[in-house]
């Protein structure tokens, strides 16, 4: 079983299929360089494949899934602490 999955070549996050420990080296034909996990990534959660800046779009399934609210270095967890939805907000009052 693969330890993680990258669903589209445009993706900047991968999904862990098992818990990835600190120091785990992510290698894949879809990755130009190896990515080392800087923190434990729980099963089913997302890990940054490149350094993401606050304001960047996180991409999964080849499609934006939200906007980063904080920076995240490559190999770190991407979740509710640094990523937020862009939808269901702009049209308030409409």
């Amino acid at each position: 079983m693969n330890p993680f999955i990258i669903l589209d070549k445009k993706d900047n996050v991968a999904t862990a299929l098992m818990e990835l420990p600190v120091g785990f080296v992510m290698e894949s034909s879809q990755l130009p360089v190896k990515v080392v996990c800087t923190q434990a990534i729980p099963k089913g959660h997302k890990v940054a494949l490149v350094s993401l800046q606050a304001g960047d779009k996180a991409i999964k399934y080849g499609t934006p899934i939200g906007r980063m609210t904080r920076d995240a270095e490559a190999g770190s967890l991407v979740h509710v602490h640094n990523l937020t939805s862009c939808r269901g907000k702009e049209k308030a009052g409409g």
Binding site: T15, G44, P64, G66, V80, S85, R87, E90, A92
Partner: protein, 389 residues
């Protein structure tokens, strides 16, 4: 290939079950219905609910339409409606709508009969007569092209979009390719993934209808409040999902890849064969009721975290996205697609296994939900001042 059979109904649709449904049209009739449930046990299906009387015309119409559509699902062979007499929903209108599709329908009202016990006594000969008539109905050959399957995902995790939903999508594609139909619904969970669906609509009319439902849903989302996590549940987040867009992209995988031939309103019966999008809520039980109301004979319910929710009249096949859940909930999960994550099965192999299982369910094999009597019932509230997503 395995032959399938069902109960042919007056309107040409096939049921895969032959239930006698006793349905209160208003909350005040629940006690009578519960008493009948105790008297008849497994011979009848009963539902109780808190709806049926409100000053809101929009809600009233939606309740009437939903009760009538639900009770005329082809899995229902006979219906007894129970009313109070002064409720705002119109029992005669519900009765007349069902009657167009099924002759075995009747109603009793508590105020006509003169109280609880007299209404129970009045219901008994009707139920006995319906049971007698249903007992003589035989199954007839049907085809996959006679099937309309519902799709639903709930208590999702980040595997749902990697295993269970894409596997279900392949089953939907195969069913559509064989001339059958499938519903994709839960419009809340299209938000962020809508372009894929809009692109698949067969014409501008259907695309405009879908866009209108999306706009309404997103307006309602914005009205609910500013909490950015409101769109996905705590369990989704614990499972690794972060945003609505991410959840949606996984959710729509269960609709497969075929063109969207028609976009219908909440609980509306499709006119075309193929993949149909229904305007429906994200809440699982309300969604399953909407699918049954639109005529789905069975539904597939994918889950990453495990949920028992079922439906009173429509078999619900529970599909797990990961093997851990399948092992923890052996009495609730029918099909495990965690095999795809484990690497022991391909998406296609899992979809073929699901297809074979579907034919067994059509032929009368009970789902885990049916065995456990999981019969949840809830109707989407959509009124002048209400928006529930």
């Amino acid at each position: 290939m395995q032959k399938i059979t069902g109960y042919k109904r007056k309107d040409g649709r096939f049921g895969i079950r032959n239930h006698l449904l006793v349905l209160p049209v208003v909350v005040c009739a629940n006690t009578v219905v519960d008493a009948l449930a105790r008297l008849y046990g497994d011979k009848i299906i009963t539902v109780t609910h808190p709806y049926g009387c409100t000053f809101d015309n929009i809600s009233n119409k939606e309740f009437e339409d939903t009760m009538a559509g639900f009770a005329s699902n082809p899995n229902v062979g006979a219906v007894l409606l129970v009313g109070l007499g002064c409720e705002t929903v119109d029992i005669k209108r519900i009765f007349a709508t069902i009657k167009e599709r099924n002759d075995l329908v009747a109603y009793v009202s508590i105020q006509d009969e003169g109280g609880t016990r007299k209404t129970i006594e009045a219901a008994k000969p009707i139920i006995d007569s319906f049971l007698d008539k249903l007992g003589s109905r035989q199954r007839e050959p049907m085809q996959v092209s006679d099937l309309l399957i519902g799709t639903e995902c709930g208590a999702s995790d980040s595997y749902s979009g990697l295993s269970a939903n894409p596997v279900l999508g392949l089953l939907v594609d195969r069913t559509v390719d064989e001339g059958g139909s499938a519903f994709l619904t839960e419009v809340t969970e299209f938000i962020g993934a809508e372009q894929n669906l809009l692109d698949r609509c067969v014409n501008q009319t259907e695309r405009d209808k879908l866009q209108a439902y999306l706009n309404e849903t997103e307006r309602n989302l914005a009205r609910v409040g500013s909490n950015e996590l409101r769109d996905i549940a705590p369990g989704n987040i614990a499972g690794g999902l972060t945003t609505l867009e991410e959840k949606s992209l996984g959710c729509i995988k269960k609709g497969g890849s075929r063109p969207i031939v028609e976009v219908v309103g909440h609980g509306e019966i499709p006119r075309k064969k193929g993949l149909v999008v229904m305007d429906g809520p994200g809440q699982d039980v309300e969604s399953l009721v909407a699918l049954a109301t639109g005529g789905a004979q069975l539904s597939f319910f994918t889950t990453g975290r495990g949920t028992p929710a079922g439906n009173p009249i429509m078999p619900v096949v529970k599909v797990s996205s990961n093997t851990t859940i399948a092992q923890r909930y052996p009495d609730d999960i029918d099909i495990n697609t965690g095999t795809v994550i484990d690497g022991t099965e391909t998406l296609r192999q899992a979809a073929d296994r699901m297809y074979d299982f579907m034919l067994e369910i059509v032929n009368g094999e009970e789902t885990k939900c049916e065995k456990n009597h999981c019969r949840e019932f809830a109707i989407r509230r959509r009124g002048k001042d209400v928006c529930i997503l």
